[in-house]
Symmetry: C2
Subunit: 229 residues, 2 copies
DNA sequence: CCAAAAGTGTTCAGGCTACACCCATGT
DNA sequence: ACATGGGTGTAGCCTGAACACTTTTGG
């Protein structure tokens, strides 16, 4: 027991709410806990922050260790510090949320390592600790943020169709959007680059593929530009 | 040295960015540090989180102990966890921002206890630790938030004139606003209750006093109402 | 030829911006 | 009477919402 302090200290953890979109639904990645407390229960990926890593580093490390995820969009959400969050001792948790492209691909990768699964919002299991509350906070943030910052693209593959983008917004915001108005607005920002390819699948007209132009967006942002849907 | 842990733990602190408005200027409350590191330097009010108090409690306690402030608007801002924030050891700080009414009153109260002073944004001293960065983050948040949530009222006395409110917005946002459009918009929300009193001062027409109706605002908010300036 | 999704314009109403003068008061 | 800030209305423009049919493909 080598580490001694004059006053008792809270333990510090990170927890990550990982969002992904699977066709028409917003999904969350959860890990099945192997150990007590809450063994066998589903929980957000996360764990203790080491004394020699930053909070962001801790979050990325846990995402990779527990879910096999690398290079995802990651942003700090809120720090949860109520006294009885963890039955063992005082634990303060810095929560993050992550946005992942191509849900299917990562699911399998993750399932190899530990017991990780994507859950639809409408079909969530009971979660460990205060993770249901953290998830609700993250969802609120995602809904707010996606309407005025172009983070939606973090949830789509690099090449996507306008219908995919619209479906994503509908999944996150939870209501339908008018197709013509949506396209007019999104294309009006001139931040989507039409590709030479089209996506053909199914017995219908093929769809134009686009990619998001992050460089142009950064330039516009510096001039006080606002991306709003 | 009674408290022992298996792994080393970061220390946990809170720091508060306290905003106030003094006539035409946005001000920040700073504390002169008495001890090393950064002794004699100005810093944000804050200190260590006790193991038996929540983060919010710690922030409020520090505000009262160091600045004599009670019952202020307080909201968590961001958690700062880079490795070298504090030269002594690893310290993770949960930052808050606070909004106080009537700057002048609290200034004197605070100055009795410790060395606390209000600084204009344009006249900030060099700050301890990474507090300049925390302050910049808080300012960005305040500017963003004040445009779509009615937190401006937390910076004014309970009874205020429309000119005071407008001056506040101009101070926070850093640009001028058209008087007629501002009044039309603000009054249009029907959230300001005109009082029977007027405020008379100086050689000119007296101004109508208003108070904000938080109850009505909560009702509207639940219906998806957005307060925007 | 049929089913299925992609793609495309116009109209209308309401909100935002810009703008200049009279009013009530104290000195 | 004058200086000082308080208070008010309108017109043009732009943006957002509502709305339905044609096109292209695979089967």
């Amino acid at each position: 027991m080598p580490f001694q302090y004059e006053y008792p200290r809270a333990a510090l953890t990170v927890d990550c709410v990982v969002f992904g979109v699977d066709e028409h639904e917003l999904k969350i990645l959860l890990i099945k806990r192997g150990i007590e407390p809450f063994a066998g229960c589903w929980a957000l990926p996360g764990g203790f922050v080491r004394v020699d890593e930053t909070l962001d580093e801790a979050a990325r490390r846990e995402l990779e260790e527990e879910a096999g995820l690398k290079d995802v969009f990651l942003e700090q959400l809120y720090t949860f510090g109520s006294l009885k969050r963890d039955p063992r001792e005082r634990v303060v948790s810095v929560a993050y949320y992550a946005l992942v492209k191509r849900v299917e691909h990562h699911t399998t990768a993750a399932t190899d390592a530990t017991d990780a699964r994507w859950f639809a919002l409408s079909d969530l299991p009971r979660l460990a600790f205060d993770h249901t509350y953290i998830l609700a906070t993250a969802l609120e943030r995602l809904r707010g943020k996606i309407t005025y910052q172009p983070i939606g693209f973090e949830l789509l593959p690099p090449k996507f169709t306008l219908t995919q983008l619209q479906t994503l917004y509908e999944a996150v915001l939870g209501h339908e959007i008018d197709k013509r108005n949506f396209r007019k607005k999104v294309l009006g920002y001139d931040l989507l680059i039409p590709l030479k390819e089209k996506r053909r699948e199914g017995a219908h007209r093929p769809a134009q593929l686009f990619r998001f132009d992050p460089v142009k967006y950064e330039r516009l942002k510096k001039k006080g530009f606002l991306f709003e849907i």
